[in-house]
């Protein structure tokens, strides 16, 4: 069962169960009630109560989407204007939600086109179809359709309609979540502290209240620990231990350092804006500092660092903490000087779990969900997002790449992005997101509004680039400790610190 928190877990190959036709000759209300009570999406079982009086197979797909938890709004209908699109979207969400059983009421009223779509859905998803015919017999046309398909006919509704698991929610095709709350105010957050890394914590201590500082410090330590864990898990040294021992130390005297007249101390304390110049690049690093080479993974790490941060202040605190962690590992992490005003992950829009849930429940078209997630995570406008190729959104959907940089996708919304790749396979057509959201992503604005998200499709990137792409990283020395040796608060010395 895939949850929004999980990475995508490959579903083992399975054989499609035979179709079950449940006869209900008396059209008894109890059978309908049991079928509706059997609805349990979290357990892979959905019941569809079709909109009455409609033969259009597209509307049945919309009914199916509603049963999967998508709000029935005009927006969803607008984006799924063709039958193929609607059924592909339904199949996509069923696969991602690991739906194993689909119970369909009023199935005796289905026409040829609905049957065709339903059988296609069964092929693509492997779902067990339980079709309730509120008649005493199966029509000849239905028998003919099922002639070559494994199926069984029964009147035992107790066997076909199990009771819902205990504690199962009973929200149904009209989603009982009311209109989503607009962007909720985050928990009381620390006020923004505009100070560079070396002075950040001290400034926060001076300026914030005790409660605010506690929050800021918690985020700072979170960033520090994340940095240490990440660096420890990688081959962080671009040079071998022998090469490291041979590297000359950074010049600390004025006039001789790579920062010209400034020293490393000047630079760390923010007294200089100069970038260090590196010599001997062709022969490999001769001395500290030298640049961090794996910039792509650094971008992904930094974007992941601030995932779920409810405010910009939280993000800044985490980055400052990460800078401390990097320095403990001999690395100088340099975000833009104007980090507090920068755009990009964690700064442009607080993409929390609640936001992901709102997108999941309000939007049905996979291209729209993916585009909105990408736009909000990256802080770019719809124009850039519209160029995304759905086929290139990888199966794990753990990260994505735009012209502006590389970004991590939090676990709690990977299904929303993965959906686009899956949909692209199920509904052959344009693979670019612009096919649905428009050349400039115009469709994202009403989509965001539907989800209660205040977003106006303008790029929120300052100076044209996101902060995490403009963050430099330099190796300036050897690591000082292992990541698990982070001292608890109040401890003066670092256990495990190398002499």
């Amino acid at each position: 069962m895939l949850t929004s928190d999980d990475h995508v877990v490959p579903t083992p190959a399975r054989t499609t169960p035979p179709i079950t036709i449940l006869l209900d000759p008396d059209d008894a209300w109890q059978i309908t009630a049991d079928a509706l009570a059997a609805h349990a999406p979290a357990h892979g079982r959905i019941t569809v109560h079709p909109t009455p009086g409609i033969t259009d197979d597209r509307v049945l797909a919309h009914d199916l989407l509603a049963a999967l938890g998508k709000q029935a709004t005009h927006l969803n209908v607008q984006h799924l204007t063709t039958s193929g699109a609607a059924w592909a979207a339904a199949a996509t969400w069923m696969i991602l939600g690991n739906t194993t059983t689909l119970i369909l009421l009023r199935a005796h009223l289905m026409g040829a086109q609905r049957w065709k779509r339903l059988l296609w859905l069964r092929e693509e998803t492997g779902v067990h179809l339980v079709l309730i015919h509120h008649t005493g017999t199966v029509a000849h046309t239905t028998r003919a359709r099922l002639a070559d398909i494994e199926h069984r006919i029964t009147r035992d509704h107790h066997e076909c309609l199990p009771p819902p698991p205990p504690g199962t929610e009973q929200s149904h095709d009209h989603n009982h979540d009311r209109a989503p709350a607009h962007d909720e105010a985050a928990a009381p957050s620390p006020a923004m502290v505009d100070a560079p890394f070396p002075r950040y914590r001290a400034e926060a201590y001076r300026r914030l209240t005790a409660a605010e500082f506690a929050q800021a410090d918690a985020e700072y330590r979170r960033g520090l620990q994340a940095a240490c864990a990440w660096l420890t898990s990688r081959a962080t040294c671009e040079t071998s231990p022998a090469q490291q021992d041979a590297l000359l130390p950074i010049q600390t005297e004025r006039g001789f350092s790579v920062w010209g007249e400034a020293t490393l101390v000047d630079h760390v304390l923010g007294r200089t804006r100069l970038q260090p110049s590196v010599d001997g690049a062709d022969d490999g690093p001769q001395r500290y500092p030298y640049p961090w080479s794996d910039t792509i993974q650094l971008e992904v790490f930094l974007s992941e660092l601030v995932l779920g941060a409810p405010t910009r202040a939280h993000s800044v605190a985490r980055v400052r903490g990460a800078q401390a962690g990097f320095l403990l590992h001999g690395l100088l992490l340099q975000p833009p000087d104007d980090l507090v005003a920068a755009g990009g992950p964690g700064m442009s829009y607080p993409f929390t779990r609640d936001v992901a849930d709102r997108i999941r429940s309000q939007l049905a078209h996979p291209y729209v969900t993916a585009a909105l997630v990408i736009a909000l995570l990256s802080g770019t406008g719809g124009q850039h997002v519209s160029e995304v190729d759905a086929r290139k959104l990888d199966a794990s959907a753990s990260q994505f790449t735009l012209a502006s940089g590389h970004y991590a996708i939090p676990g709690y919304c990977r299904d929303l992005v993965r959906a686009a790749g899956l949909y692209c396979r199920l509904a052959p057509g344009s693979r670019r997101l612009r096919a649905v959201i428009g050349e400039h992503g115009a469709a994202l604005v009403p989509a965001a509004a539907t989800c209660g998200i205040e977003w106006d499709n303008s790029s929120l990137l300052v100076n044209g680039g996101p902060w995490h792409v403009w963050t430099g990283c330099w190796r300036v020395g050897e690591p000082l400790h292992e990541w698990h040796d982070i001292p608890p608060r109040g401890t003066r010395h670092c256990p495990g610190q190398r002499p």
């Binding site: 309908t32 509706l36 909109t51 919309h62 029935a72 009209h174």
Partner: protein, 236 residues
């Protein structure tokens, strides 16, 4: 309001239907007091919860949706997509308990009844539905298995018996309180036929006849004057 046995029975039946959140069908020839009895009962039992709807002959589904939308006082424009429309209706009907009274139900098609069933079957809506209809309403609803399995009560309105006429008419209007019981029975045989609507017409004309003939009590001559103007009509 004249309290008849049928009215009393209607009120008792609707109290059960409301408690059980069920469906009911009140049927019978026109003019027998079905609508009046249902409305009077619901004014007592569920005055704030009752929503009355009535449709033109042979309504389409979109008519049902549109009339319900208006009757429930939903804001904004009516949705175009039927799923969105039904979702809106079901959301509204889930807010609190309501009694939906659908008059002239015999005009509706199977498709229309599917919508009523759909709204009632939904696990979140909180409704009771009363179908009220003419003589063939019973046949029409009974024909639909989805309704016959869901309707808890069927109440048929019959014409008033002669004994009921003799008991009710003197209470209904003072001119009958003064009239001889034989005259009342004669009026019933010739024109009233146990039908409230017919008796309403007879009464209006009898009042005029008394004035025209300068009488104070209804007698055979007054009745003849009335029947002459009714043209020998059978009760509707």
């Amino acid at each position: 309001m004249v309290v008849t046995e049928a009215l009393q029975r209607t009120q008792d039946n609707l109290a059960i239907v409301i408690d059980e959140r069920a469906m009911a069908c009140v049927h019978g020839d026109s003019g027998l007091g079905k609508t009046l009895s249902v409305n009077a009962s619901l004014r007592e039992l569920a005055p704030a919860e009752t929503v009355r709807v009535q449709f033109r002959s042979h309504p389409y589904l979109r008519d049902i949706r549109g009339v319900l939308f208006d009757a429930l006082e939903l804001p904004g424009p009516k949705p175009i997509h039927p799923l969105e429309f039904d979702t809106l209706l079901k959301d509204k009907l889930s807010e609190r308990f309501r009694v939906l009274v659908c008059d002239e139900a015999q005009w509706m098609s199977t498709e229309c009844f599917e919508l009523w069933r759909h709204l009632w079957d939904d696990p979140h809506t909180d409704i009771a539905i009363i179908f009220v209809g003419g003589a063939n309403c019973y046949k029409v609803l009974q024909r639909e298995a989805m309704l016959s399995s869901r309707v808890l009560l069927w109440q048929k309105f019959e014409p008033l018996t002669p004994a009921e006429v003799m008991a009710v008419m003197p209470v209904y209007h003072p001119i009958w309180a003064e009239a001889d019981l034989e005259i009342i029975l004669l009026a019933n045989r010739r024109a009233g036929h146990g039908n409230f609507r017919a008796w309403a017409r007879v009464t209006v004309l009898a009042v005029r006849a008394l004035k025209h003939l300068k009488r104070t009590t209804v007698d055979e001559e007054v009745l003849a004057w009335v029947c002459d103007r009714l043209g020998g009509q059978e009760p509707a």
